[in-house]
């Protein structure tokens, strides 16, 4: 007798024994026959790709046997199957190099989340109520096909809108292909705090519209203008690995890190030299450094594209003499002189721009200035400098195109959460309330899919074919493709398979080049693009113009700075309990929103730690507890992004506030990207401290709230 047959027999006999012994059907334990060979207690490792951000780290998944509650053919019972236990970095992956960040570690909780959407849902209650009724896959797909057929019959395909989040995988190709064959506009890639300004600058300066890979490991001096290299920007695991090597990887040579920003990020916290500047003037400092280098002939002046994009470069950057730069940026002229000399002395040196530095009305200027500085330092495509990964896939996001949604008759949402991430002033919520039909592939009822008429839940990454070709993080092109690590826990389906099925069931079927999700993941990514021809900078991006801020400076005296945290990123991992309870690296706050205020400012306004303060912009008011934070400029108020979801599972719903909500819909002048650091606010103490600010530090007492009545 085969082993499998033996197991089947014993399973059947034990099941019938159980059936016979229990009168009450609720107490029946149906044990299904496992359909995979398992060895109890022995761990296996299978590859996959981390879904937490676009960096595309390859992971090793530890898989072991477990008993899983499941439904088979309408009958609930228990099946023994192999399940994921832990995610670890894949040592052979040039991106993760064996490491994995907090969000990556916690991603396993996406699969096991108690509030996952377990089967297709159809809206029952009002839009946004989250009141859904389960439907079968056949019915759900039939409904979507019907809607598409109706729109096609009316010749109205232009009114179908796809909204996705940025990813570097074949799934983006599938959705783009599906939309194009349907006759619908190209998918809207929603990434409100994305990097399109930096990509545009790289296209102008170097002919590559993508983020650069920074060769930190071989650099001796890294100067970051706002880019949170070690925390949340671009490819933090790869960059942290490079940072470790830069610091202590070479005997007798320790690389130096300087960070230019107005509120200390994790990267700033690790800097040897933290250089606070006035918001919106970062590029002026970069050109001030270039001026010193050129004026003192410390390096041969460059004449490439990057330099040509800057007005006044050939004239020796006369407008950017240290004394003038000091006036604009607030950084002392002496310090600019010294930093410029160090950049040359400590070559290979490299400059990086990102984050709030480019999220101003004049953002493109700052990125172009940093590119020109890199060119001058000889840091382009040189060891210890910046590289452009051949074939790296870079999605182009544009928050403004969300406005085209108001005319859409059918909106298809793939993992994007614009109702949460877009400023309230863009009225995305109102658009979704009015949209005739909304379909979501979400695994969770989040702020956006709460408005959906139909939810067709996707498998999670551990249950499906995954692939990625990251935009940067490694000098060489990296493509990772991996199969499912475990069988699906719920009645979900891979979105790729659903789209392929929908394509075939239409009245006029669409021919897609792939037959299954597996075939899609294994299909080759487009090869490397040759560098584009030089692109002239649009408008006046090559010249410094004063940053424009929304809100009158007299009425709204503070700059408002939303920032990503290593636990929540853009807010898409706020539903994971480990990350909610992980102390924030710089403040140790857990389960909370908070408002960072400089100690002198707080004293002047008589605000104490934990007091509730009202933050008011021209577009709304938020109330959150104050965090007295020593590493922020006195005229800047900062708030973490991630909390403040209306609907996002039991762990994140209704918790804290969302700083993106009160942003002005200001844009970067040249690219139209959301200028998320260009809003001004006022603050006022609203109430005494309640217990909404929860911190790990200083709370480790035996009786922290003794005497209080709970």
């Amino acid at each position: 007798m085969e082993r499998r047959d033996f197991i089947k027999l014993t399973a059947i006999s034990s099941a019938s024994a159980t059936l016979a012994s229990c009168g009450n059907p609720e107490h029946q334990l149906i044990r299904f026959v496992p359909d995979e060979d398992l060895a109890p207690g022995i761990a296996e490792f299978k590859p996959s790709v981390c879904p937490a951000c676009a960096a595309g780290c390859a992971v090793n998944v530890r898989v072991m046997q477990a008993d899983v509650d499941t439904v088979r053919n309408g009958q609930s019972g228990v099946v023994t199957m192999s399940v994921a236990k832990k995610l670890e970095g894949q040592p052979k992956d040039p991106i993760s190099q064996g490491g994995l960040c907090a969000r990556g570690q916690a991603s396993i909780q996406i699969t096991y989340h108690p509030d996952r959407v377990t089967q297709p849902l159809k809206r029952k209650g009002n839009r946004g109520s989250g009141d859904f009724t389960p439907v079968s896959w056949d019915e759900a797909i039939g409904e979507l096909v019907g809607k598409l057929d109706t729109i096609a019959a009316a010749g109205d395909q232009k009114s179908i809108a796809f909204v996705t989040r940025p990813r570097r995988s074949r799934r983006a190709a599938l959705i783009a292909e599906f939309a194009s064959k349907l006759g619908a506009p190209a998918p809207i890639v929603f990434d409100p705090m994305g990097d399109e300004v930096v990509r545009r600058a790289n296209a102008i300066s170097f002919g590559h519209e993508q983020l650069a890979t920074i060769d930190l490991a071989r650099s001796r001096f890294v100067i970051s203008f706002g880019a949170d290299l070690l925390g949340t920007w671009n490819s933090p695991v790869a960059q942290s690995a490079g940072y470790g090597a830069m610091r202590q990887g070479h005997p007798q040579q320790r690389g130096k890190l300087a960070v230019v920003e107005s509120r200390m990020s994790i990267t700033g916290a690790n800097a040897d030299e933290w250089v606070p500047v006035k918001p919106g003037t970062e590029g002026v400092l970069a050109l001030g450094l270039a001026h010193v280098i050129v004026a003192n002939k410390l390096r041969p002046s460059s004449s490439g594209r990057a330099a040509a994009a800057i007005e006044g470069w050939s004239g020796g950057l006369a407008d950017y003499a240290p004394a003038r730069v000091e006036q604009i940026t607030g950084v002392a002229a002496k310090r600019i002189e010294r930093l410029a000399r160090e950049l040359v002395d400590f070559r290979p040196a490299v400059a990086v721009a990102g984050g709030p530095a480019v999220a101003h009305s004049n953002g493109l200027f700052h990125a172009l200035a940093v590119n020109a500085l890199n060119d001058l330092l000889g840091a382009v495509e040189q060891p210890g400098g910046v590289f452009f990964t051949p074939g790296g896939q870079s999605p182009v996001a544009n928050a403004q195109s969300l406005q085209s949604l108001s005319a859409a008759k059918l909106v298809v949402i793939d993992e994007a959460n614009p109702v949460y991430g877009a400023p309230v002033a863009l009225k995305v919520r109102e658009t979704f309330e009015k949209a005739p039909f909304i379909v979501s592939f979400g695994s969770f009822v989040d702020d956006t899919s709460a408005y959906a008429d139909l939810i067709l839940p996707d498998h999670t990454f551990l249950e499906s074919w995954v692939d990625t070709t990251p935009e940067s993080g490694s000098i060489e092109t990296v493509t990772t493709v991996a199969g499912p690590v475990m069988k699906p826990l719920h009645q979900t389906r891979a979105t790729a398979d659903v789209l392929i099925e929908v394509a075939g069931r239409l009245k006029s079927p669409i021919a897609l080049p792939w037959k299954t999700a597996e075939e899609l993941a294994k299909s080759p990514a487009p090869g490397p693009q040759p560098p584009q021809a030089a692109r002239p900078p649009e408008g006046t991006a090559g010249r410094y113009s004063e940053p424009q801020f929304a809100g009158d400076a007299a009425q709204f005296p503070f700059h408002f700075l939303p920032f990503k945290t290593p636990q929540f990123g853009d807010g898409s991992t706020a539903h994971l309990p480990w990350l909610q309870e992980m102390p924030d690296p710089l403040t140790s706050a857990m389960w909370s929103s908070w408002v960072e205020i400089n100690p002198a400012t707080a004293e002047r306004l008589q605000i104490a730690q934990g007091d509730l303060v009202d933050i008011t912009s021209p577009h709304g008011t938020l109330r959150a507890p104050a965090m007295i934070f020593p590493a922020i400029a006195p005229d800047v108020i900062a708030m973490p992004v991630g909390q403040g979801h209306v609907t996002f599972t039991q762990y994140a719903s209704g918790r804290g506030v969302n700083p993106m909500a009160i942003l002005a819909p200001a844009t970067e002048a040249a690219t139209g990207a959301l200028a998320w650091a260009a809003t001004r606010v006022k603050i006022a103490r609203a109430a005494a401290a309640d217990r909404s600010l929860i911190m790990f530090a200083g709370e480790m007492r035996e009786h922290p709230h003794e005497g209080e009545i709970r």
Binding site: G41, A66, V68, D69, K85, K86, L87, E88, G89, S96, G99, L100, C101, A102, G104, Q105, A106, I108, Y112, H113, P114, L230, G231, P236, A238, S240, Y243, G244, R247, Q248, R254, T267, A269, N270, D272, W274, P276, P566, Q567, P577, Q580, E581, P583, P585, L586, M590, N598, P599, A600, P630, A631, A633, P634, I694, F696, A697, E699, M700, R701, P704
Partner: protein
């Protein structure tokens, strides 16, 4: 020769990102306690990243320090335990036997590093979150004290594997979850009795010191101080 497990943390590499904190939760079945209990100081993090601000704006500097059980050779938590739940193993680990622990919490009072955590409640994992639990690590129930074990389950697994293959353990065979997750490679784990091991080499560094070492606790976690370059 017996192993003597130890750790070295290079504070010049540590970025404070917190990957180790989450990796520790994932490996060791550490429950979350929720916002209400976290506000009462009952959040459990066997490993935490301490951060210290120095100076005032604009001359602010930050120091990060991941702190876990220091596995002291003269551990203050051990002699105070009435049930020998907190004890020293042959390989130098400061171990906790959950089944012996009666929850006096004397050990937590005695520990100068604040790294011991008491289970005030039975842990809860709403289904199917329980499927993530690591079968190699016991789940602690209400009334016992828990703390960093240096991932003893990984040490045991590596020792068993080496024995089965009739070979000696080599440096790098055992990696704790925190060391494995660390992208910057700031945390290194290994055998201090092997003078060639990376952890032993780092522990001999002129930058290396121990946390509160003047208390005489003889900790086995070496911290390599952050360098300054201005």
């Amino acid at each position: 020769m017996a192993h003597r497990w130890g750790m070295a943390v290079d504070l010049d590499k540590c970025t404070g990102c917190g990957a180790c904190v989450t990796a520790c939760h994932a490996e060791n079945n550490i429950p979350i306690v929720g916002p209400a209990e976290a506000a009462r100081g009952r959040a459990m993090h066997w490993l935490r990243v301490e951060r210290y601000f120095e100076g005032e704006f604009p001359d602010v500097r930050v120091k990060f320090r991941p702190v876990m059980c220091q596995h002291c050779d003269a551990a203050p938590c051990e002699p105070v335990c009435p049930t020998y739940a907190s004890h020293h193993t042959d390989e130098g680990l400061n171990a906790q036997v959950y089944n012996r622990c009666i929850g006096t919490r004397y050990c937590a009072n005695a520990c100068p590093y604040n790294v011991r955590f008491f289970d005030f409640f039975n842990p809860q994992w709403p289904k199917p979150l329980h499927l993530q639990l690591n079968p190699d690590v016991s789940v602690r129930e209400v009334g016992v004290m828990e703390k960093c074990t240096f991932c003893v389950q990984r040490i045991n697994a590596a020792e068993i594997a080496a024995k089965a293959e009739k070979r000696e353990l080599k440096d790098g065979d055992v990696q704790t979850a925190c060391a494995q997750a660390c992208a910057a490679r700031a945390i290194v784990f290994g055998d201090l009795n092997d003078p060639e091991s990376e952890v032993a080499r780092l522990s001999r560094s002129p930058r290396a010191g121990h946390l509160l070492e003047d208390l005489g606790t003889l900790p086995k976690v070496a911290y390599l101080e952050r360098q300054t370059q201005v």
